[in-house]
């Protein structure tokens, strides 16, 4: 390090010490983004903003919430909702954002799958993103327990019971997770800790990793063209902005993002003020009662597809118990999309509409996930059970077929 003579209390002195301009250039004004993108490329910034909304609204809820089975329900439904100024607003903002953040995560994820943005140099972005999805799921689940209503309690009972499945029961894992024989005060307090401290900390770190893994390989573009960023950046900096295929992250790309963000926030605040009920299950306005299961238990909409794979196989097969098969598929479903970069055998990065067989695969996957989502909410009886069974089978077949589908596309194109 060179000795710095400029005063600490001067702009140039600070600049010498922190190299803020260089940092700003690397992260902002000379972080190059392709021009050939659409509104789907704004989802990252939309997600970052939604996460900020969750943190800020969460801080205000945290100041009145009480993580105690005797006090939790009233601290939410009485104190926060009726006594605290704008408490209702912070709760509805938090609940709606928690729901909407998954909608955007799914859009973000399937944009990546559609445009092949997970492969050939972008694997780390995909993996860190999928870890974020898993951590967000844990965050959503732990948060749902806190109001201590009937759905909170029974969702907690059912999901922690997953850890008593099959041979796990002998290990006493479920009692360990709950800190008791049933979901109880110790469970609530430890999930409160996870929700407000440990998991947000992990999420923030993962977001930093996710941004970092993106910075060097750069984002993909609509035609998946391999851009020479140094050459295009030179053109842009030389003033040939029209010819250059890239724009700087700030101020050009972010101004596009802010336009999309503006539309998103209108939609979001419309939900917060006029349609918050979709994120507030009526069953959860009954206090938790360990002696009475609600007539029908279902998770929030964003967990329905994987929940349906859990109960899809409702009869014994291949010498395995129905419940164990469901548990295995459910476990697989949580992490299934992690393996996408490694089962895609196509050597080229191309959008799905240029990979005809993969294009069909992609849309079957979307439809199958929608079917699983719809049937995850319906009671699992009669014909519904069979729809769930076949939709679960299709989900597994799609993953099993991906290597062959992608290879066939590459062969037809002459790339293999």
């Amino acid at each position: 390090m060179a000795e710095i003579k400029e005063s600490f209390f001067s702009a140039e002195g600070l600049e010498k010490r922190l190299a803020g301009k260089k940092f700003w250039k690397t992260m902002m004004t000379e972080y190059w983004i392709p021009k050939d993108i659409n509104f789907l490329w704004a989802m990252g910034v939309v997600l970052a903003t939604t996460f900020a909304i969750l943190i800020i609204s969460g801080i205000f809820l945290l100041m009145y919430y009480k993580p105690d089975t005797a006090l939790a329900f009233d601290s939410v439904n009485y104190t926060i909702m009726q006594d605290v100024a704008y408490g209702w607003l912070f709760r509805h903002m938090h609940g709606v954002a928690a729901s909407v953040v998954f909608l955007i995560i799914y859009i973000h994820m399937f944009t990546g799958i559609y445009y092949g943005s997970y492969k050939k140099g972008r694997e780390m972005i995909w993996l860190s993103g999928m870890l974020l999805f898993v951590t967000f799921s844990a965050e959503g689940f732990s948060g749902y327990m806190l109001p201590w209503g009937q759905m909170s309690y029974w969702a907690a009972a059912v999901i922690t019971n997953l850890f008593a499945g099959g041979s796990l029961e002998a290990w006493g894992l479920v009692e360990w997770i709950r800190g008791g024989f049933a979901v109880n005060d110790a469970t609530l307090t430890r999930f409160f800790m996870l929700h407000v401290f440990l998991l947000p900390l992990v999420i923030i770190k993962l977001i930093v990793v996710h941004f970092y893994t993106l910075r060097i390989p750069h984002v993909n573009n609509q035609s998946s063209e391999d851009i020479d960023y140094d050459a295009e950046a030179e053109k842009y900096l030389a003033g040939n902005k029209k010819e250059s295929k890239v724009i700087p992250f700030w101020p050009v790309f972010l101004s596009k993002d802010f336009a999309v963000l503006g539309i998103f926030l209108i939609f979001y605040f419309y939900l917060v003020f006029f349609n918050y009920n979709f994120a507030m299950d009526p069953v959860n306005f009954d206090p938790a009662n360990p002696m009475k299961t609600p007539a029908h238990i279902y998770p929030e909409w964003y967990f329905l597809w994987s929940y349906e794979t859990l109960r899809g196989p409702f009869f014994d097969m291949f010498g395995l118990k129905a419940g164990d098969i469901g548990l295995m598929i459910f476990g697989f479903a949580q992490a299934a999309f992690l393996i996408v970069p490694f089962i895609d055998r196509d050597p080229d990065i191309l959008p799905a509409h240029k990979r005809p067989r993969f294009f069909i695969w992609f849309w079957i996957m979307i439809i199958d996930l929608l079917v699983l989502t719809v049937y995850g909410k319906l009671p699992p009886t009669g014909a519904n059970a069979w729809v769930g069974f076949y939709a679960t089978a299709v989900f597994l077949l799609l993953f099993a077929s991906m290597p062959f589908v992608t290879k066939a596309d590459a062969k037809a194109r002459g790339a293999l």
Binding site: A164, G179, N184, T293, R311, P313, A322, P379, P380
Partner: protein
Amino acid sequence: MSDKTNRRDFLGMSFAAVAAVGGAASLVGMKQAWDPLPSVLAAGFTTIDLAKIDLVPGKPQTFTWRGKPIFVLEKTADMEKFDGDLVIGDKRYTVSIGLCTHLGCIPAWKKDKWKCACHGGEFNSNGQQVFGPPPKPLNIPPFSVKGTVLTLGEEGEQSKAMMTARA
């Protein structure tokens, strides 16, 4: 120079060993901090006097033991006789932990069987699974019998025999 390198290696390995032991010990401590508290483990004997609860045959009652529901059903004459029944005098009872063995929801009694609302599992009046994802029959709590009094939480001959018969 090689003797210096060896000394450095030794220091490095000693440091790693101490850190590994310390790390493992803290993990054990952290694991135990999450274990159920002694008070939770110690609490939890429930007594039920079958002669005093006005049980109607064919209509199960629910009791609480260690935060879990316990189903007690007095069988009607038409119900199947089963080795896993608790027999006291000329009466036959089904005693079960009322949590679905799939994922722990409480099944509800509908006419002649327990139906689970969560994932559609069904159990007959013997407590055996007859439909859906439950992998095994409803569990039987450990209990002892003195006359007509059941003490839940105290392993007895009957509950052991019933568990074997049911599985």
